[in-house]
Symmetry: C2
Subunit: 361 residues, 2 copies
């Protein structure tokens, strides 16, 4: 079934043992993470292929479902290649590129790879894929009709207790909730491309999702090595794309309008990003950045741009910062030293949460 990987496994000797890590992954590997043992990954495209592998490598049985054998063959070949890369990464001692989802394994990579392949199956038969699953991850194309038909089909075969999750990037779960036949057991669980490095799991319920289901999906996301993020409401783009798309659009606008060139936009951004960081050289998130800028200036800029651009949400953001922070004397750190200066803003200084080692785990 996986001759290349097994061959890799056979020739391994003295491979490095992965360091012990987060408990949730250790439990997942040991016990199957509570209620979920069998997962159906529907759609074997780029991201579906990654999702299936990440779930399998975390200790769950995975049935990959797609409509053609060609798609499944390609998916299986990708899994074999990716597992070879995983073994090679460990061999090279390349911890910086190690799969975050596997930090807790105490087995040699070659053994993990072989066991992972043993937990993966591939089929074009929806009944076979879904009939014993506890959770579905839907990764089919972003076409409403395809999504609807997929859910209608899966709901016929999956057990009543099975939770359905969508990995849709662009469509909100409420759009399809009724098609699943189990709206209260349905929400989005969205992954980023490069799932083993960008290990976020964005969990977005629709208004009809049972809160217990949302909690179970949050737990499952953690069990497969993702850092789980709960979105309290439906929002286009989840967290990452909601920030990324406006940033990319603004950069394209500069070039599309003939104001600047790609290289200059990148250079200017990089120079300022590298300068405005604490500690120096670190990447900063938007709220860290706003605390450094100072919240009165941020609020003023939102007011100004909101008025200039007739953008009511921008204006609302300015009012929000004023009422929730500035009026409560939370002004940000304003170019102060976050390791030493006392201040309140989105974070509490000195020694804000983002300087703690576990912030990103």
């Amino acid at each position: 079934m996986a001759p290349d990987v097994l061959r890799v496994a056979a020739v391994e000797s003295g491979v490095r043992v992965l360091r012990p890590g987060a408990g949730s992954r250790a439990r997942a590997l040991a016990a199957g993470a509570g209620d979920v043992s069998n997962v159906c990954v529907c759609g074997a495209g780029t991201l579906g292929t990654q999702v299936a592998l990440q779930i399998a490598i975390s200790g769950f049985n995975v049935s990959v479902l797609d409509v053609t054998d060609a798609a499944l063959d390609k998916c299986r070949a990708s899994h074999e290649t990716l597992l070879q890369q995983y073994v090679a990464r460990e061999q090279a001692g390349d911890q910086a590129r190690a799969w975050k989802g596997l930090a807790s394994s105490d087995k040699p990579a070659s053994e993990v790879a072989a066991q992972t392949l043993g937990r993966l199956s591939y089929t074009t038969d929806a009944a076979e894929a879904a009939s014993s699953c506890d959770l579905v991850s839907e990764n089919v194309p972003e076409v409403p009709e395809i999504k609807a038909a997929t859910y209608a089909n899966l709901s016929k075969h999956a057990p009543e207790h099975a939770i359905f999750t969508s990995n849709s990037s662009t469509l909100l779960p409420s759009t399809f909730a009724d098609k699943t036949g189990r709206p209260e057991k349905f929400c989005a669980l969205h992954f980023a491309n490069g799932i083993w490095d960008a290990n976020i799991g964005e969990v977005m319920p629709h208004p009809g999702t049972d809160p217990a289901v949302t909690r179970a999906v949050m737990k499952f996301a953690g069990d497969i090595g993702m850092v789980p993020f709960l979105l309290n409401k439906e929002h286009n783009g989840y967290l990452i794309n909601a920030l990324l798309v406006p940033w990319l659009a603004a950069s394209l606008t500069l070039v599309q309008k003939g104001v600047s060139e790609p290289r200059d936009v990148d250079r200017a951004w990089l120079i300022c990003q590298k300068a405005f960081t604490a500690p120096p050289g670190a990447v900063m998130g938007p709220f860290q950045t706003m605390d450094m800028i100072g919240l009165p200036l941020v609020s003023g800029v939102m007011d100004y741009w909101g008025e200039q651009l007739k953008d009511e949400q921008m204006t609302a953001n300015g009012v929000f910062v004023k009422e929730q922070y500035i009026d409560r004397n939370k002004l940000g750190i304003m170019n102060g030293d976050p390791t030493k200066d006392a201040a309140e803003g989105f974070y509490t200084y000195p020694n804000p949460e983002f300087l703690q080692k576990e912030f990103l785990s």
Copy 2:
């Protein structure tokens, strides 16, 4: 005049010699950068204070003009404090925090600091500040009436050949061009807060600016240690704020609407930023990011969001990427290895320009 700094200078011994650096700054220190020797910095607020110091430390004579002695006293005190920090940074060997604008000095920091103070003067008299200047940097408050009155006053006293530049963050130079009495010798030269670390100089002419003046201001920006960026057209927010404001606004929207919390937005962004980088751990600009994502996906996302949000500029950006890049078979590196894979996108791979050491200089 500057007892604290001079005292610091006196007790210095064995200070580190700064490393030789970019030629433009060396020439500025040696010869006064061509046509510009004397600079009038008008407005001694936070950024005006930084601008004045950076210009003086680069070898130019600077006259700081403000309307009150109190403002000038505060500015002078800030200069002394900042120069003490500059000396202390060098003493600590803290190259990561060394002033980029001074990388080329071969003098001990204490000597540079003392000479810098000797090149600075402070006055409330516009005639004294402007009558012998070659270039003006205007840093007065972002109130149209104040800007207009300032330019009307300065234009009476400054020599005919003097170039006027505005550091306005929010107002376009065309708004004031006529008030300067010399619209063809006027453009924006915009700095970032923390000028010695975030050393960008955004040069934005208005339609009536003489191209020779734009070139002279670009040269001057380089001579004072800034990486100069030419904007071909007027654009709100220049480069950095044009990217930063939509990114910050999108993050605030997530919290203002109750979708997420500041810490979660930052964590999700940081996890993905650290994952989607080449080389690993580096910060990426927006065009590098788009090449990694792949331009077909970027174009598709712009089309989709443009339609969803009824945002014509977003749609135009999607068309731009398709026509200028995708249709010419420039698809980006698409998760490939930029050090090894051949590809075309906004950059040419392998070994794109952004991996070269001089990219940010």
